[in-house]
């Protein structure tokens, strides 16, 4: 064996130095430019692969060698979560970004009214569940180092190795993990280093796999044959345990503190998630591809009793492939270290924000938080937390003496953190989820988990005695930790998962329904649930705080420059060129979120509340909630009004359009009628004048007759044109009236005289009443005469009666002078009383004669211009027209 322990240490140190260099470069590069490789979705995807720890790298092969394909669901679960990213992860990431969430504890606390109790609960749960997991990484690291230790040599023992590793990891994490205080900002150095480690572990595992399949196994077919023969897979794939494992791993990818850190907190652009949705499952796919071949080849080639958890490393070593073995070792080293670093960052953020800082604030409650240097306290507590977490992991490793199989520890941790899931999912989708419900759910779930899975896993019977395990608590059969309430679920993990989550969800729902959320809870709930439909909300709070106080506080936490930047942006936003911004509700909310990025939502909220003189938030928050609802209602009411207005306008437009169409049609009709009316006299004029022209020796009688016809037709044409012009003038109201006192008798006599020539020869009887004959009106006599001429002519022409009688009577009525004009002719059919006033409308029954059909329309226009009107009324005797004119009052 040419790879010695010391050489491996040297290789590790060189590798770590390289990672340091990369991390330092990445930090500097990130400061220099915003757009670089560091912001690419590939780096994001690779950083998510921190999911694949030493548990995957070594443990998956071990699991496959022991229990067949059971390792697969651990990778299928996360695959499904990423396949369905659009429906869950996207919302989670959006919430994380808008609410400036720093950890999973912060998320839960923030959703349930920035509750510190919940934050502490989740933090404690996360630490308890993660400590064994960190210990597991230390264990796998020491195990892989031990492979290179020659028996009987005086190299360091495993405990010392683990200790040195823990110290080294703590150093690296503190150096790059606490560089910027804002946990909400990306840790570029760490993320880049982890991306590189992700590449190394993938390449190493694939390299070992290729070596095993094509060098040791002799090809794909031979390997598959061996798989069929040696893989310990006796059952069908689908079992309750298969489903449990898929479910647990699916939730772990969200709930594990380190996974939440890389997926949600370190996400710099939502579109990166779109890439990761397929790239991360692809990464998992490649990681799993060679697990089975390596496992069965190890079982086949290596001596009986070899630890299958180390096959990845021992297979190349047994074939004296030193370079490959070194690469495999680095792969395992990468898996373990990256997990520990990210977990330590995530946990330390939670511990320092939710436990250390509130404690410190509580201890110095008398002083204002602004008067102390919160920033340095925060830095110190975070660094201290990192060291403490690694210390805990190391202690756990020492006390469990590294005996437990790798896979089971991981699953116990998974189920522990999954207890957060109901509160998280409920908080994102269920409006009535409350703080009380979340506390109940998590507590009940935690108890069930501890009792049915975690405590029984601690060997040696120190906490749960063997009799408790077999006979139940206090000898009660129903309380047997691994067969609770007589449930016969053979697999302890499935058993624990079923009971803890059932209890958790029930308690969560009952607790939520039994309690009333505080206003702040409700506000946060609305913001979480409607994260995609969020509008800017201004909290109508006046906390009675000055901007100076806020600035001092912000400066302590964010640092002078950052605080100045935030305040400058705010005052720019408020349109104040100089000075501090006004402490409006909106600004305070922004500042609170900004601070939450450093110290977590609950603490930031507590600080702001405290600095504002301890003003009770509840009333203000109530107003805010009411305000928001009012805003939404106002908005929708506005929309309704708008759409009603639009409909109304549309209806008006439709009416106007109909009118325009009708008028256009009328105009067309009018034009065609005018042409027709002009055409008839023109035709006879033309034909008779042609006759005169061609036939020179016409007898004088004929000559005279033709000339008369031409003359008559010309007169008719002229009259027609005059009437059209007249009508046009009247219609446009451009007529000039010669108003003056006129005796109606004069008008009447003039009209009779004018119509004398067309009076029928059979004799007519015209009667006019006295009032009419003696009445003097202020009107235009010329025009009124025209109206009467028209009426009389019509009677003469259309009455069709041999014994024509016309009667005209006038009387005063209600400030009007009413004139009834009656004849005993054929009359007008009832349906045509309006039609006769239309242009060119001649009644069909009447033979065409002199008139051109413009008489009545002109009369009506005249009457209207004179301030009165004319209508045709139904009558039993003949035609009846009623005219009226206004009477002047002086």
């Amino acid at each position: 064996m040419s790879l010695s322990f010391n050489l491996m240490v040297a290789i590790c140190l060189a590798y770590v130095a390289f990672l340091f260099g990369v991390a330092a470069w990445a930090e500097r590069a990130a400061q220099r430019s915003k757009k670089s490789l560091l912001h690419s979705p590939i780096v994001y995807t690779l950083s998510i692969s921190v999911y694949c720890t030493a548990w995957t790298y070594f443990g998956a092969v071990g699991s496959a060698a022991r229990s067949g394909l059971e390792f697969l669901p651990i990778y299928l679960g996360p695959t499904l979560v990423f396949v369905g990213w659009w429906w869950f992860l996207r919302k989670l990431v959006r919430i994380g970004r808008t609410q400036r969430i720093t950890s999973i504890a912060d998320l839960i606390s923030s959703r349930y009214g920035k509750s510190n109790v919940l934050a502490i609960m989740v933090t404690v749960l996360a630490v308890i569940a993660s400590t064994p997991y960190i210990a597991l990484q230390l264990q796998s690291l020491t195990l892989s180092f031990a492979v290179f230790t020659e028996p009987g040599s005086d190299s360091a023992g495993p405990d010392v190795t683990a200790f040195v590793i823990a110290i080294g990891l703590a150093f690296f994490t503190i150096l790059f993990g606490t560089r910027n205080l804002d946990a909400n900002e990306r840790h570029h150095g760490v993320v880049t280093a982890i991306a590189i480690e992700a590449c190394v572990k993938l390449i190493a595992l694939i390299a070992v796999g290729v070596f095993v399949v094509w060098h040791l196994g002799g090809g794909i077919n031979e390997t598959l044959e061996l798989v069929e023969r040696r893989l310990p897979q006796n059952e069908t794939l689908f079992t309750p345990r298969w489903v449990t494992l898929t479910f647990l791993s699916a939730t772990a990818i969200i709930c594990l503190p380190r996974m939440f850190q890389v997926v949600v907190v370190e996400n710099s652009a939502e579109k990166h998630l779109a890439t990761a949705s397929w790239a991360f499952p692809l990464y998992l796919f490649l990681m799993c591809l060679f697990v089975v071949p390596i496992a069965i080849t190890g079982l086949e080639i290596l001596p009986e009793g070899s630890n299958p958890d180390l096959f990845v490393l021992t297979l190349p070593l047994s074939q004296n492939q030193d370079a490959l073995a070194a690469l495999a070792f680095l792969g395992g080293f990468s898996s373990a270290t990256s997990m520990v670093i990210v977990a330590a960052i995530a946990l330390s953020t939670m511990v320092s924000n939710h436990i250390a800082l509130p404690l410190w604030l509580y201890g110095f409650q008398k002083k204002s938080p602004a008067s102390d240097d919160v920033r340095s306290v925060l830095l110190f507590s975070r660094r201290f937390s990192i060291a403490a977490i690694l210390g805990l992991g190391y202690l756990y490793y020492v006390f469990t003496s590294g005996e437990t199989a790798l896979a089971s520890i991981g699953l116990i941790a998974f189920l522990g953190v999954v207890q957060v899931l109901p509160a998280m999912v409920g908080g994102m989708f269920w409006r009535n989820a409350t703080r009380t419900g979340a506390i109940w759910g998590i507590s009940v779930g935690f108890l069930f988990w501890a009792y049915t899975l975690f405590l029984p896993s601690i060997e040696g019977g120190e906490i749960l005695s063997a009799t408790t395990l077999s006979d139940g608590l206090f000898g009660l059969n129903a309380f047997r930790p691994q067969a609770l309430f007589g449930s016969h679920i053979s697999d302890p993990l499935t058993h624990a998962t079923f009971w803890s989550l059932t209890g958790n969800i029930l308690a969560f729902i009952i607790g939520s329904l039994a309690s009333t959320p505080k206003p702040l809870e409700r506000l946060q709930g609305i913001q979480f649930i409607n994260i995609f439909a969020q509008t800017v909300q201004n909290r109508a709070t006046n906390l009675g705080v000055t901007s100076e106080d806020l600035f001092v506080l912000a400066q302590r936490i964010l640092g002078r420059e950052e605080a100045a930047k935030v305040f400058r942006q705010a005052s720019d936003g408020q349109g104040k060129p100089t000075g501090l911004p006004d402490p409006t509700g909106g600004f305070i909310e922004t500042l609170e979120k900004e601070l939450a990025g450093s110290v977590g939502a609950a603490t930031a909220h507590a600080m702001i509340t405290q600095i504002s003189g301890g003003v009770s938030i509840s009333v203000d928050e109530l107003i805010a909630v009411a305000d928001e609802t009012a805003q939404i209602m106002e908005y929708s009411a506005e929309l309704e009004t708008k759409s009603a207005e639009l409909q109304e306008t549309a209806a008006k437009l439709r009416v106007a359009n109909d009118k325009l169409t009708a008028i256009g049609q009328q105009k067309d009709d009018f034009l065609s009628q005018v042409s027709h009316e002009l055409r008839t006299p023109m035709t006879s004029i033309r034909s008779f004048s042609e006759l005169l022209k061609s036939d020179s020796d016409l007898e004088p009688g004929k000559l005279n007759q033709f000339a008369t016809i031409i003359n008559d037709e010309s007169l008719r044409l002229t009259r027609l044109l005059d009437e059209i012009l007249d009508l046009s003038v009247l219609e446009h109201g451009n007529i000039r009236l010669n108003m003056g006192d006129t005796l109606l008798r004069t008008i009447w006599e003039k009209a009779i005289a004018t119509t004398q020539h067309s009076r029928p020869p059979t004799g007519t009887d015209i009667q006019v009443n006295k009032d009419f004959m003696s009445r003097v009106l202020n009107t235009d006599g010329e025009r009124l005469t025209q109206v009467f001429i028209n009426l009389i002519t019509n009677s003469f022409k259309y009455s069709g009666s041999n014994d024509l009688q016309i009667s005209v009577s006038g009387q005063e009525n209600d400030n009007r002078y009413m004139i009834d004009f009656l004849d005993n002719g054929a009359g007008i059919p009832d349906t045509n009383h309006n039609l006769i006033f239309e242009k060119f409308s001649r009644l069909e029954a009447v033979p065409e004669s002199l008139g051109v059909g413009l008489g009545l329309p002109i009369s009506r226009e005249i009457m209207r211009n004179l301030g009165g009107d004319i209508v045709s009324l139904p009558s039993t005797t003949g035609a009846k027209f009623q005219l009226w004119l206004p009477l002047e009052h002086t």
Binding site: G68, L69, L72, P73, L76, T79, L80, F82, V83, G84, W85, W86, W87, R90, R94, R97, L224, V227, E228, L231, Q233, N234, E235, T236, L237, F238, W242, V243, T246, F247, S268, A269, E270, K271, A274, T275, S277, W278, P281, L282, F285, C288, L289, V292
Partner: protein, 84 residues
Amino acid sequence: MSDTRQYTNPDENRRKRRKRSEAALLLLIFGLALLSTPIVNTFTITDGEPSIYRMLIYIFGVWAVLIVMTAILSGRMDYGSKDT
């Protein structure tokens, strides 16, 4: 005939977007059904005996198809979010 080249109906776009996101949900349901329901057994048992060879082909096959489908769908998703 009206010219529709310039004008894209916003309702139509919204409908397409919704359809794409529903397709993403369908893909998830397919994945769940094929990987964590008894359907797994339907494809991996021959003559009443579980076949390891078929198990490997089936699981990795479904896995690969899911990855490809997700890649195709994700590229067409319209997330329109602000980046920092």
